[in-house]
Amino acid sequence: MSASLQALTANDLLTGEVVFRSMEGWTPRFADAQLFSDPLDARAELDLAVLETVRLADPYLIDVALTDGLPSPTSFRERIRALGPTVREDLGPQTEGGPLVDALRHSHAAARSSGRLGLIRKR
Amino acid sequence: MQMLIRLEAGRFVRAADDFITLAAEGDPPADGGVIVPLAHWAEMGERLLSEGREVGVRLTSADPVEALLPVLERLSVVAVEFPIFRDGRGYSAAVLLRTRLGYRGELRAVGDVLVDQAWNLVRCGFDAFETNASPEQFAASAHRFRHVYQASADDRPPAFVERETV
């Protein structure tokens, strides 16, 4: 069984765009998201992100699984965040297309809704 | 000592707090102004008033203003708590104190008092504010709107009155 993976996500405070922690910084491309296999590393990055109160809104960790070697959030909600609205395929990061976008769309890794903090998120 | 801003003759000024707010138990200081939490008024309120001091009452956001009716005329300060700035009960408490109960003494907003609520606080009748904001910031916030749509506890004429005079 593969180790469970996590990624760190947030919204950009200025633009509201969905962003992911990458090796270089923060990116709107899920394809470039840094994947953490060690939950302590993930948590450390989250703690740092929480301090970036002028750059980021609401950072949190999400679960990621690999399907045919390509990563995808396990949560359906997080896949929509990474892609864009399923009803407007001409909008959002999904317009880039390519194998990773396909993987996000068709991943069967989701069975659990982790990555979501509850119906109404409390601060 | 907590910093206060007072609204005096239309101007916001930094002021020292001349009152000690009494904690749950404990004796009041020998002299000087004291503010008593409503919950402890029964034990010590009348006694303090009889000592010829300036006396005030502190209301939590759940305390009904009507409880002050018997003593309101003799109070120098009513402090209304905002446990968190978005608990808006203090605004109604203030409006009732000023308009229904006719209170004329100092009406002080205490607790989580933020500069962005200055406008609401002043319109609802508060004239003292426990805040670290500067008087200039507070004034700027309180004067944000040149007009008001509705009557409140202040004396600003609502838009429909202004329109009559045009």
Binding site: L14, T15, A57, L119 | G88, R146
Partner: protein, 554 residues
């Protein structure tokens, strides 16, 4: 319609300057997110799934052409070329940026639009009958009173930090096109036996986790006392509404726990003690507001009426359009034309910037500058002379705005759902598209007739599913989208909360289920019965049997 005077314009300018300053202080780090968020919400800016969503207020659903064009401009310049009309007659832009918000608001202010109090625990946009001013059965023009409420509720210093959001709706017709009984306060304007104008005041309606139909606390409030009475209700709610539990903080919980009679007594006591003269609008101000409505001089035009009838007789498609999308006007030579934003297969309630411009042009050329938004996420041109209906129809058709489906099964109310909304558990839009495709054949849709389907992607019920003849609620079952059905809800004057049908259904079975329910209705209906009537007559049981016949166990 109401035009801003210098005072109204100054309010927007001052508010926008305040917000611009607050944004700057947030971005510089002077203000924390916890401090900024309530202020941001009170300017209608939500951080949603993909971006910031800006909710623009359309006061009582009323727009003039310049305003609609300004919304189109915002969509093009600062968003992605479209907007979404909501169940509270507002418009949402899904792709805005915090950094652009002050500029967007400044642009909207040039036409008297804003996003004030469209979110937050404050008094929200007051909604109303989209046919107000054109309906034959109204006691008065509800917009007059909505404008009075708009001003009274805007920046009300005492009621800015309520326990929870507060929604008011007003109708002046016995036919309730504003769902007033599902609002925190619903107002029904009427004339009493002496002919005096007054309000039935209904309090404590609401949807969400715990749906309630509102209770009448006053049968007849003299109209001139509207604002003081509302003040009394809000003050009691502000002081006594629960602040310890987010899910029990609406006024409906307070009214339910005290009982309507006890609540009414509290309101009366507060109202009687109040200095009402300071709060109620003077006659002069009411007259000023009134004077800005009802200025349209409707002209008799029997020739136009004849041409209209001839067109209907000779053109089947036009006739179908009129049958479904055109309603009777109080003047015999005029009509109320609905603009369907429910094109089969598209997102319900969405309009492109180009479509907004088309409707703006029609409002200007044919509609006396009067355009409305309905809580069913459609638009209305309420004053079209019969002579012009054909021309309007052709332009609407060319723009994809003439699907002949108002109040039919494909006229679905759907919230944005998990495709856009951070609160959602499931998607609503693709479900609505699946269902709509089943009723794409206009003959079948008309055969089934009036069938109000409402879909919410979560329990917050922004799709008003509790009030659907068929209500559909998306839920998350172990990470998969499932949908719970209710039947027999209504948001009209016969308001009722729908009853549960049975076990939740997976996404790919929802349209089948609706098909089966429609087929069952066609089998079971008595002459003249709508779907809702048959459900009410027979109860849920036969529909449940039809819906789950040979279904796999869940």
């Amino acid at each position: 319609m109401y035009s801003y005077d210098t005072i109204d314009a100054a309010m927007l300018a001052d508010r926008n300057a305040e917000f611009r300053d607050q944004v700057a202080r947030r971005l510089s780090g002077d203000m924390s997110e916890a401090q900024f968020k309530p202020l941001r919400l009170m300017n209608g800016l939500y951080l949603q799934l993909h971006s910031y969503m800006l909710r623009v207020a359309i006061p009582y659903g009323s727009l003039n052409p310049s305003q609609l064009r300004a919304l189109a401009h915002v969509a093009r310049r600062w968003d992605k070329g479209y907007g979404h009309f909501t169940t509270r007659q507002n418009l949402q832009f899904h792709w805005t940026r915090l950094s652009d918000a002050p500029d967007i608001l400044d642009h909207l202010a040039t036409v008297g639009l804003h996003a004030i109090q469209t979110s937050g625990n404050c008094i929200r946009n007051t909604t109303s009958d989209p046919f107000a001013g054109a309906a034959a059965d109204e006691a008065d023009d509800a917009r007059i009173w909505c404008e009075a409420i708009r001003q009274w509720s805007s920046f009300h210093p005492e009621f800015t930090y309520l326990p929870r959001k507060f929604k008011i709706a007003v109708t002046a017709s016995a036919t309730d096109r504003a769902a007033v009984r599902a609002h925190d306060i619903g107002l029904v304007l009427h004339r009493n036996d002496e002919g005096r104008l007054g309000f039935e005041v209904i309090v404590g309606g609401g949807l969400g986790r715990t749906p309630f139909i509102g209770k009448t606390i006053r049968d007849h409030l003299p109209a001139e006392h509207l604002l003081s009475y509302l003040t009394a209700i809000l003050r009691i709610y502000n002081l006594e509404g629960r602040r310890d539990n987010l899910y029990k903080a609406r006024i409906k919980i307070l009214v339910d726990s005290l009982g309507a009679a006890a609540f009414a007594e509290k309101v009366e006591a507060e109202w009687v003690a109040m200095d009402r003269a300071r709060i109620d609008l003077p006659d002069l101000e009411l007259a000023r507001i009134r004077a800005s409505f009802g200025l349209i001089a409707h002209k008799s035009d029997p020739g136009g009426r004849a041409a209209f009838e001839a067109d209907k007789a000779s053109d089947r498609a036009f006739s179908r359009f009129v049958r479904n999308n055109v309603s009777a006007h109080k003047h015999p030579d005029y009509a109320i034309v609905s603009v369907s934003l429910k094109t089969i297969g598209d997102t319900p309630g969405d309009a492109s910037a180009d479509q907004m411009d088309v409707v703006a042009d029609l409002g200007e050329a044919y509609g006396h500058g009067d355009i409305r938004v309905t809580h069913a996420q459609n638009l209305v041109l309420p004053h079209i002379s019969l002579r012009d209906v054909r021309a309007v129809y052709e332009k609407l058709s060319a723009a994809g705005l003439a699907t002949p489906n108002i109040d039919l099964a494909s006229d679905i109310i759907a919230c944005p759902g998990l495709d856009y909304c951070a609160l959602a558990n499931a998607r609503a839009i693709p479900i609505s598209q699946d269902i709509a495709r089943r009723f794409a054949d206009p003959d079948r849709a008309e055969q089934v007739g009036e069938l109000k389907i409402k879909i919410s992607g979560c329990i917050n019920a922004c799709g008003h599913h509790h009030l659907g003849h068929i209500g559909i609620l998306g839920v998350d079952k172990k990470g998969e989208e499932f949908f719970q059905f209710t039947l027999g809800g209504s948001g009209a004057e016969d308001a009722s909360v729908g009853q549960a049908l049975g076990p939740a259904v997976p996404a790919d079975k929802v349209a089948d289920t609706v098909d089966r329910l429609a087929a069952a209705y066609l089998d079971l209906r008595a002459p003249g019965e709508r779907f809702l009537d048959t459900v009410r007559r027979l109860g849920v049981a036969p529909f449940k049997a039809a819906a789950y016949a040979d279904a796999d166990p869940a």
